[in-house]
């Protein structure tokens, strides 16, 4: 039994504050580096979003973490247990959906969970019913999976995670296929899981959902983690956006360009969209207004746009794209 052979110091490792910890983790597919020296720290007991454009290497990182494929370099640990060395111990308390959840379609949802529970500890069999109840599938648990909708399969995937009573859940696009009510239920469930002290790592393209659900995020692009931290801190560092409705937008743009305040100005039908560098003093907003008024421009409205995770995400990824 492997757990019996763990060194005494191992218990201290399990007290690690990180649910997921990777250092210089790398995975290559030929010339393509899908995971590139990733340094990732996911704190315990939070909802953590892992974001990135298509092909950024998000799912590959999950697969490496879960031992579905091997890393080429670097170290990683789950719940303080180094993997792959103590993979069995670590994964015993991890539940994960990777890609689209698929099951034996000729079996019922309950029977699929019985197969998965059999591979876990004996107690997990007793959790099948409560897990199905929790994801709202209790009434359809004895229907064949072939009759399930995409959303129901997603729920079954989450139930499959829950039968292991996981401390860490890794959910890859769990909102896929869910209707608005289902998405709200899923969001609520994620929040409740976190409230129970579990860690939820959420891979999603739905930035709005991530912003509403997660405490912290990491953004990955071209296999590298380019930003990570609490959402509030990251957004505080985002650029300041202004929307100005005014007369003569083209002349207004020239006036603002002349004083070199703005990082970026877009002229639209209603006026100007202005992006200011992060950390710009608020006095600059008043200065822009003054320049326009003194230049004879009628300013009808000047509004500061609250930075969203989506706008910040686009800033980060587009900036990277522009740099190349």
């Amino acid at each position: 039994m492997r757990t019996a052979t763990l060194p005494d110091t191992f218990d201290h490792q399990t007290e690690s504050r990180w649910a997921v910890e990777t250092h210089r983790l790398t995975k290559r597919f030929g010339e393509n580096v899908a995971v590139n020296n990733v340094e990732l720290l996911v704190p315990r007991g939070c909802a953590f979003g892992y974001l990135g454009p298509n092909g950024a290497g998000k799912t590959t990182l999950i697969r490496v973490l879960l031992g579905l494929t091997h890393a080429d370099a670097g170290t990683m640990s789950l719940l303080g247990y180094p993997v792959p060395r103590h993979r069995d111990v670590a994964l015993a308390r991890v539940g994960a959906i990777v890609d689209e959840p698929r099951f034996h379609s000729h079996l019922t949802g309950r029977q699929n969970l019985q197969i998965l529970a059999a591979a876990r500890e004996p107690e997990s069999r007793d959790r099948i019913g409560p897990s199905l109840e929790r994801v709202g599938l209790a009434g359809r648990a004895d229907d064949k999976v072939s009759k399930y909708s995409m959303g129901m399969r997603q729920r079954l995937g989450v139930a499959a995670c829950l039968i292991g009573d996981p401390q860490l859940l890794i959910l890859d696009e769990p909102m896929n296929g869910l209707d608005p009510a289902g998405m709200a239920d899923m969001r609520e469930m994620i929040v409740s899981l976190v409230a129970e002290g579990r860690t939820v790592v959420l891979y999603s393209h739905l930035l709005d959902e991530v912003e509403r659900t997660c405490d912290a995020v990491a953004i990955v692009d071209r296999g590298k983690v380019v930003r990570q931290g609490p959402i509030s801190e990251l957004l505080a560092g985002a650029s300041l956006a202004l929307q100005i409705e005014c007369s003569e937008p083209d002349r207004a743009q020239s006036l603002i360009d002349a004083v070199r305040f703005a990082a970026h100005i877009e002229v639209g039908s209603l006026g100007l969209g202005i992006s200011l560098p992060a950390g710009t003093p608020r006095d600059v907003v008043a200065e822009i207004n003054r320049v326009l008024v003194e230049g004879g421009i009628s300013v009808y409205r000047l509004q500061e746009i609250q930075a969203s995770l989506e706008s910040w995400f686009l800033q980060v990824t587009s900036r990277l794209g522009a740099a190349e």
Binding site: P43, R44, C46, H70, L79, P101, I115, A118, A119
Partner: protein, 389 residues
């Protein structure tokens, strides 16, 4: 800049290590049971297994039973030794392998193709244990099915066996001793003299008397004794004819004794074990090959080709430079272990015939079978342990 986020909250869920043997390569009973359930619920596959292993021999025997009951003079008994040997060697052996291989291929590939493999790996359970759980689960289906089909065949072949034995075209009571057969021959001299195979040699006792009887007995529509003598010799007396018939019966007793109304207990037991072993090989090889290839259809086709085409060719045609390779064919090894009373499936000897099989000792055959079982299991398990999920 990348900064690590602060810890949001303190985990309250206990961080206990699992109490089960998660990393052990030995599958648990629950794993085997649920895997058995998964395979058993494949309705199409189960129907195919039942039809081939039980349905085909049952339908064949039922038709023969009905035909014999309706027109016993036109249709022989449903059971008997010959029916048994032909069904076992010709049907159950070959088709048992194919359906077992099909089940093995399903067991070896469906987790992967249906997306469950990933879920199972994420549990942290040893991949080797996941693989090994499939073996007892699959065999728990294959072995009983083969046993049920075989039991039906044995039952019918014993209970519906012919009452008389057809020996050299003559209906003779079965199970007679040498003296008993001689006594019976004295009572039926015409049938014995006219039909029993008689090989006379210089050392045959009373050869001249036998020849004399042959020369003076006319067989045809209704056997006639006595005139017309062929060579004008003395007409043999009835006592002489009966004595010659008894002597012929004693000479033919060895051939007669090898004929059975129904299969013996030992033949049935050995044959049952033999076709079970063939089914086990089919399942194990199918499981390993499908796990290795990650799919079901191609391995099934490959194994059918192996069983129906390659094995018969490689078993009966000695190819000088690859004879050792031929000896490695599992079907040839199985043919060498075939019970002696059965006609060989791949063109070897039937009773009294000459074996055309590529020569191989029993020890080598046993080693080949063991190597196939172990080798494919190792290959399949290795691929499962190293495969990206």
């Amino acid at each position: 800049m990348t900064t690590p986020p602060a810890v949001a909250t303190v985990a309250t869920v206990p961080n206990a290590a699992p109490s089960d043997h998660r990393g052990s390569p030995i599958p648990t009973g629950a794993m085997i049971t649920t895997r058995f359930m998964e395979l058993r619920k494949r309705r199409g596959l189960m129907i195919a297994l039942i039809v081939v292993n039980i349905g085909l021999p049952t339908v064949f025997l039922v038709i023969r039973l009905l035909a014999h009951a309706i027109a016993p003079k036109s249709y022989g008994p449903a059971g008997g030794y010959d029916i048994f040997t032909n069904l076992v060697a010709g049907v159950m052996y070959v088709f048992g392998f194919i359906v077992a291989a099909t089940l093995g291929c399903a067991a070896g590939s469906v987790d992967l193709t249906e997306g469950m493999f990933r879920h199972l790996v994420v549990t942290g359970r040893s991949r080797l244990a996941l693989y090994l759980a499939r073996i007892p689960a699959g065999l728990a289906i294959v072995v009983p099915l083969v046993a049920i089909g075989f039991t039906i065949v044995c039952t019918v072949c014993v209970t519906a066996a012919p009452a008389k034995l057809n020996f050299d075209g003559v209906n003779v009571p079965a199970g007679l001793s040498r003296a008993g057969l001689a006594n019976w021959a004295e009572g039926h001299p015409d049938e014995v003299i006219c039909n029993f195979d008689t090989r006379l040699g210089p050392s045959t006792p009373n050869a001249s008397e036998i020849n004399s009887v042959f020369n003076n007995v006319r067989c045809g529509n209704g056997v006639q004794f006595g005139p017309p003598p062929v060579s004008g010799g003395a007409k043999p007396t009835e006592a002489e004819i009966r004595a010659v018939a008894a002597q012929i019966a004693r000479m033919d007793y060895a051939d007669y004794a090898s004929q059975f109304l129904s299969p013996s207990d030992s033949l049935m037991i050995y044959s049952g074990l033999w076709i079970e072993l063939e089914a086990v090989i089919g399942f194990t090889v199918g499981l390993g090959l499908a796990s290795l290839m990650g799919q079901r259809t191609v391995p099934v086709v490959l194994l059918i080709v192996l069983e129906l085409i390659l094995t018969p060719i490689l078993s009966t045609n000695v190819i000088p430079h690859v004879i050792n390779l031929q000896r490695g064919v599992v079907g040839l090894a199985m043919a060498h272990l075939e019970p002696g009373g059965l006609p060989l499936a791949f063109g070897g000897n039937s009773r009294g015939g000459i074996s055309q099989l590529v020569p191989e000792s029993t020890a080598v055959a046993a080693c080949v079978i063991a190597a196939w079982l172990v080798g494919w299991t190792v290959l399949g398990a290795w691929r499962m342990m190293t495969r990206d999920a």
